[in-house]
Structures are given as structure tokens and as C-alpha cells.
């Protein structure tokens, strides 16, 4: 019972914080600069890890397809086709979002948490700054704008990785590309983008909440950062299920 009560209390204070965060910025010029800064910190700096994970995931998916669909009745384009579906619908938006949850959620929670315990947030409050808006909203906007771009990159790199994996296992490039292009529908990409945008909101808002409501010392920074990663990962999986049911 107390678990439910605690959850409702936390969820209530999360909504109140988001209400404060989603207000008109006090200085639009600073807000725009903050978004660009956060895009670099949370988005551009995530490109290397996204590329590395995507190329290996793409290759592994195609190799698994080849090994598990080894039957003369299957057409040779099936490997490219099935890999494309798997990468666009699940691997890129969900797996990469989980990777980004690990990287960005811990970064956001520890950054805001450190500012909280060193009284930097109090200092801004006393100056008259809406700190929830100043600190949180640019992070949410940056993730919301940049994560879908990362997922497009991830799909692209994943398919290239898959091509290399397939060719290393005897799949011809022609049949792989034929499979990738076969019955391509933009609906799949839209679904992936919507899912990523929701995941971006989940990661940035939960991590910001964990950092902003931090009380205590440096030990608490680690605890709250871990909570930010765990809670945003669980929320991503729950919303993944809900959206899969909603879209298909």
C-alpha cells in the first residue's frame, strides 16, 4: 500500500515539476543557446556510441536471420527485408533509446543533482530564475529534437553493418539491398520516430526530476543517477509495449 502511495506522491511531484518546466522561458536568447549547448552534450556527443552499437546490432541481426532462415523455400531477399523491419521497428528506436537512457539519463541526473547539492540552483532561484524551466526545458527540447536524428543515423548504420555481416556469411549485396528496398513503407519510419520522441521525453524528464529533487550529498548523486537510468529504462519498455499495440 505504501508502495502505491509513494509512487503516486512521486508522480504528483514529477507532474508539478514538469508544469514549472513547461513555461515560457524568461529569456528566449539564453533558451536557444541552452538548447544548442544541450544538443551538443546529449546528442552530438552520443553519435560515436550510437554508431558503434548500431553497426554491431545490424550485423548480428542479419547473421541471425541467415542462420535461422536457412531454407531453400525462402527467397534470398528475405534477409534484407526482415532485417530492415527489425531494425526500424524495434532495434533502433528501443535498443538505442535504452543505450541513450544509460548515457544521457545518468548525465542529466548527476549534472542537475550536483548543481542542487552545491546550492547553484538555490543561487539561481534567489536571482529570480525559474530554475525548472531554465535547467530542464532545454534538455527536454534537445533530446526531443536530436534523438530522432540519432535513430535515423542508427537505422542507416545498422543496415550498413547488416550488409557487411550478410556478405561475410555469403549473402549477396544485390539480394540484401533488394530486400531492404522491398515494400518499404514510411509508416514504419514514422512509428520509429514517434516512439523515439516519446522515449526522449521519458529519458530527459525522469532524469531531470531525479536530479532536481535530490537531497543530500555526493553519495545521493550516484543513487539518483542509477534510479534515473533504471526508471527511464522501465518506462521506455512499458511505453514501447503500449505504442506497439496502438500503432499495429
Amino acid at each position: 500500500m505504501s508502495l502505491i502511495k509513494n509512487f503516486l506522491l512521486e508522480f504528483g511531484s514529477y507532474l508539478i515539476l514538469m508544469k514549472d518546466a513547461f513555461k515560457k522561458p524568461q529569456n528566449m536568447h539564453i533558451f536557444r543557446r541552452q538548447i544548442l549547448h544541450e544538443m551538443e552534450a546529449l546528442g552530438v556527443n552520443s553519435i560515436p556510441i550510437v554508431c558503434v552499437i548500431s553497426v554491431f546490432v545490424g550485423a548480428a541481426v542479419v547473421i541471425q536471420m541467415i542462420l535461422n532462415l536457412e531454407n531453400p523455400i525462402y527467397p534470398s531477399w528475405i534477409y534484407g527485408y526482415a532485417s530492415r523491419k527489425a531494425l526500424i521497428l524495434e532495434f533502433a528506436p528501443t535498443v538505442i533509446s535504452l543505450i541513450l537512457a544509460g548515457k544521457c539519463a545518468s548525465m542529466i541526473a548527476s549534472e542537475i543533482g550536483s548543481q542542487k547539492i552545491s546550492e547553484q540552483i538555490d543561487a539561481m532561484e534567489v536571482m529570480g530564475v525559474n530554475t525548472a524551466n531554465y535547467l530542464i526545458l532545454p534538455k527536454i527540447f534537445a533530446c526531443f529534437i536530436f534523438f530522432p536524428l540519432l535513430i535515423i543515423l542508427s537505422i542507416f548504420i545498422g543496415l550498413i553493418g547488416g550488409g557487411f555481416g550478410g556478405m561475410a556469411n555469403g549473402l549477396s549485396a544485390f539480394h540484401y539491398v533488394e530486400g531492404i528496398r522491398l515494400e518499404f513503407t514510411t509508416y514504419d519510419v514514422i512509428y520509429a520516430m514517434v516512439k523515439t520522441a516519446v522515449n526522449a521525453l521519458i529519458i530527459s524528464s525522469i532524469a531531470s526530476y531525479r536530479g532536481y529533487t535530490m537531497v543530500g550529498g555526493s553519495v545521493e548523486v550516484g543513487i539518483q543517477s542509477t534510479k534515473a537510468v533504471v526508471q527511464s529504462s522501465v518506462a521506455i519498455m512499458i511505453f514501447n509495449l503500449l505504442m506497439t499495440n496502438l500503432f499495429f
Binding site: S118, Q120, D122, A123, V126, M127, G128, N130
Partner: protein
Amino acid sequence: MIEIKNISKSFEGRQVLKNINIQFAKGKCNLIIGQSGSGKTVLMKTLVGLHSPDEGEVMFSNRVFNKMTITQQIDVRKDMGMVFQAGALFDSMNIEENVMFPIRMFQRTSRAKMLDQVNVCLERVNLKGINNMMPSELSGGMKKRVAIARAIAAKPKYLFCDEPNSGLDPQTSILIDELISDITHEYNITTIINTHDMNSVVEIGERIYYLHHGELWWQGDNKNVLNSDNKELNDFIFCTSLTKKIKEKNGNK
């Protein structure tokens, strides 16, 4: 003018502030003194709105601050500057950006004018030419001076300092005290300082408020603080060997 009326504040059933009434002197250095845990920091955070009181009123220029809307509070806060115990400098920004922050946030002015204002403030705290340094590169005393420069950058009417000379050597403490006192009179700011530094009490305490277990126990100024017959205040002030010897020496004269 800042005034607090019947302020009480509790945390988890423990009463930290008990029915405090103070009218702070305008344009002067007002010192809140007391032992650790006496409620000084809670009182200061209540004054600036970081804590809301359970009972009572915090008044700025005869307006009840703690019952204002957030927007009204933000307007009053634009007239406040605060120096935190550890400086609370923004560690992702350099010194120039730190001092410029309150100006850039709320004033529509050119970058050149903002930079001029930053340089005036840094020069005022004797830290000319450190604009591009990061807070992590500064000593404790320099951090406090940058925090003072940032606090006065937006030309506030009220300056709050939470233990501005804690963790500093005696000579740097004196410099910080003199700086705060000079700035208070130069800019006609109402300054409220939390401290348990006896030198500050004697040197810059134009009004002194002694808190004891969350209650306002004594008030006066630096001329009568050493001659008070209040037992708790005397126990607090004359607890070190140095202050005891000074008292004995004065008593023998």
C-alpha cells in the same frame, strides 16, 4: 526595508524558528549570529523565499513576500543578491559568465555594456583580469569575492550573505568583511549576514540579532554586544580563550 513578523518554521515536528520578529536596519550591515543549529541559515533561506514559513510574514518594502504569486516573488528577487556559504558559483561557466549571469538573464542591454558592468564589479572586489578563469581554479577567498561580485552585478537593494567568511583565514575574513561593509554603504544596500565570526560582529555589526535555539534572544549593535548582561550571548561570544582574555583585560581596566 525588510521586516519579519512572527516567523515560525518546523521540520518534521522539530521547531527551528520560534515566533521571530525583526525589523532590519535599512542601508546597514545586519548580522544574525548564533551557534550552529540555532536557525540562522533557515531564517535566511526563509527571508529569500527558499523556505516558506509555517506562520508569520516576510515583508519587503511593506509587501508580504511569502504570500505573493511566483511572478511577484520573481520581481522582488530581482532586487536581491545572495552570497552562499560555499560561493555557489556556476561551475560550468567562467568567472565572466558567472558575474554576467543575473544581468544577462533579466536586463535588455548590449554585450559591451554587460561586460563593462562585469568588469566594474570584479574590480570592486579586487579581482580584475580573471574573467576567463574557471571557478575550480580559484581559492576559497577568491570564490567568495566572485560570489559578492555576482551578487552586486544586478545592482540589488538587498544583499544576503550566508557565513561569508567561513573556511577562510583571519586576514582574508577581514578583507571580505570590509568589502561587504564598504559595498553596503557605497550602494546603500540593506545587507543581512549570517555569521559566527566574532571579528565580523565587532567590526561590521551595525545591527546584531542573536538567535538561541530558534528564538531571537538578544538584539543590539557592535557597541553594546560585548557589554551585554545576557548570559547566553556572553557564553557564545566569550567561549574562546582569546575572547575570554580580551574580556578579562577589559574587566581589569
